[in-house]
Each structure stands twice: as structure tokens, then as C-alpha cells.
Point group: D2
Chain length 107, copies 4
């Protein structure tokens, strides 16, 4: 089952500056097999098979807890699955841009 | 790694009445091993080991897609993990109620 | 426009014990006009007109920042609106429970 | 109170193809005063004063319900506020990229 997801990981108990931990999340994703990902300002798009995506997010929690001493983590995930057609991070963006262009040229 | 999570699953392409599908989610959770769960008005609290919790949510997607013909699903999950102390659905509620009682009795 | 929502507020920069702040959120909601709310283990259901619900959540942020010195806050909200029929925290729960009972009695 | 938020709006009861509605959301944001926004594959970053951001999201719901006959909408929002320093969509991205570059050059 293919997933296009978006997640936002918040480390707790490490103060208010989270940049260092967001960078570790990106590095953990880079080391995760079989997924695509793209960071934005409030989280990260992630795409792949269900198990690979969930394993990657779990790796972020495990790494922060055990190797970077983060005592508590709060993560929110949006998960999209579908069986009617294939989907990807790039296709979803392309379809909306195409729709916006066609609606502006027709008006 | 223990998780206290909360998830809300939205089936798409099946109209606006979702009660039937929320009931299937509850039945799928009931059949899932090693987790505790508690439905509320906008989702379901779920507690257990990371892999058991994620496997239960995956089972909800799989069951709705394959056995109930739901073409598309959008799920949001809040995931909490911590290594500083143990946590559970019940303890989290109890701690806040206790805090509210002590602050009202001291005022 | 009526809203049935669910929100989870996470204070940052105040350590890992959040019970005190969750209690303040509940007290702020109690003082908010025209809403109903019900805490669960991973957030709070909240119901009312859009503006009243959003004003209540804003009050939680404002109170924590200005009166309780919380430097940073991360909140997630699920918002449901519909024009096909009325909805409420209680009705949503009742409908699923009724569905679960009728499906178990018919099997 | 300044907000950096991220929201994902899901129209229900309109089938599984949501591109048209995502485009309407983008057009509604474009017409909303005093906010900045940036679409990604699973939602939209949005930045501005609390009231302006919430008003823009409300406009998306109102427009879809009343002018595009969407019967039901499910929206998830991540909201970040802070009083310790200023923040923006662009700064958050820049800080992480800078951290990633410095950590790769030091290794």
C-alpha cells in the first residue's frame, strides 16, 4: 500500500530552538531506504510503501531519543492512501498547478 | 518504544455519512492485538508498542480499502513517545484531573 | 458556521511535564463563552460557532504566552464543518455506538 | 500574535478527485489580505497575524460550502506561535538548511 504522507516532529524538553533536531530528522530520512521526502516550513512530505514510511518516522523518534537525549517527542502525521489511482508528492503538486493555470487562462 | 497516540480516519469517495466506516475502524481495533484504545468524538486514543499501534492503523486502511471498497483515505495521527517516564491514556487523564482539583481547592 | 473540532496544544520550552499547562487550557475553555468542550487523553473536543471556537483556542495561546510565560506553542486542530445536517460532539459518539450495537446484534 | 501555520483541507461528499477544490483554496488564499502562503504536496504553509490566518481558513470553508456546494469539510491545522523571537515560513526553512550545511561541512 503506497502512502503520501506529511509529518511534523516536535522534540519536547530541549528548549525552544528546534532547528538542530529538524536537521537530524532530515538526515535520518536521507538514510532511510525506499522513501522520497521533501521538507517544507512546517513539516516534511514523505512518500513510499506504508511500512517504509512508518519505519522512517520511527527511526526519527528512536534516533532522537537514544542518540540525542530528547526525552519526549510529539509528532503529527497526515497519511493519504488510495486504490483508485497512483499518487505521488510531485503529481499532487503538478495537478493543482495545472488546474490553476487552466482556470486562470479560461477566465 | 511505547506510544500514546490519537488518530482520525476519514474515508473519501463514499459520501458524507461516515458512521458506518467509523464503526468498522472500531471493530478493526478490537481485533488488533496488544493495544488499548478509546473512541472520542473526533478520533480514537490508542496505546501500545509503536509497531502494534502502527499495525492497527494500517489494518484499518487495508480493511476499508479491500473489504469495504473505500477508494481513498485521509488519516491524521498524533504520536507521543517519551523515555523520561511511562505514560498511558488513563494516566494522562488522571494527572490533569488531579491538577484541576488541587488548583480549585487551593483557590 | 457550526464547528466540531479537536485540538491538542503543546507548550515548548517549559520542560517535559505538561500537566499544569493542560489544566490551564481546560480552565481557559471553561471561561470561554458559547462553546462546549470535552477533554480526552490526547486533546480536547470543542464545539460551537467557528468564531467562538477559534477565539477560545486563541485565548489558550494568549493566556499561556502572557500570563504563564510559555515561550513557544505548537497546536494541532482538526476542524469539521458541514451544511448537509447538524452535528455535535454527543451526536457523533451516539451514532457510532448505535451502529456498533446494530451490527453486533445482527451478526 | 504572529502565527506560522500549516493546513490541509479535505472536502467530503464530492468524490475522490480533490484537485479542483485545492485550486479553489489557493485562489481563496490569494484573495485573503495580510497573509503569506505556500502550497506543498500535503497542505499549505500560511503566515500572518492570528486573526488574518484564521479568517483566511474560514473563508476557504465558507467559499467551498456556499459557492461550490461542498457538503462537508475536514481540515487539519498545525499552529505555531512564539514570543521569544520572530519567525516566518522562509526563516524556518533557511535555519534548517544552514544547519544541514554546517553539519555536513564539519564532518
Amino acid at each position: 500500500m503506497k502512502v503520501v504522507a506529511d509529518f511534523c516532529l516536535i522534540p519536547l524538553g530541549v528548549g525552544t530552538s528546534l532547528t538542530k533536531y529538524v536537521a537530524i530528522v532530515q538526515q535520518t530520512l536521507q538514510a532511510s531506504p525506499h522513501i522520497k521526502y521533501l521538507m517544507h516550513s512546517c513539516g516534511t512530505n514523505i512518500e513510499g510503501e506504508w511500512d517504509h514510511v512508518m519505519e522512517a518516522i520511527k527511526s526519527c523518534h528512536t534516533s532522537l531519543h537514544t542518540r540525542h537525549a530528547v526525552p519526549r517527542i510529539h509528532t503529527t502525521v497526515r497519511i493519504g492512501t488510495r486504490i483508485d489511482k497512483d499518487s505521488s508528492i510531485q503529481e499532487k503538486i503538478d495537478r493543482v498547478k495545472s488546474e490553476l493555470e487552466s482556470s486562470s487562462s479560461s477566465s
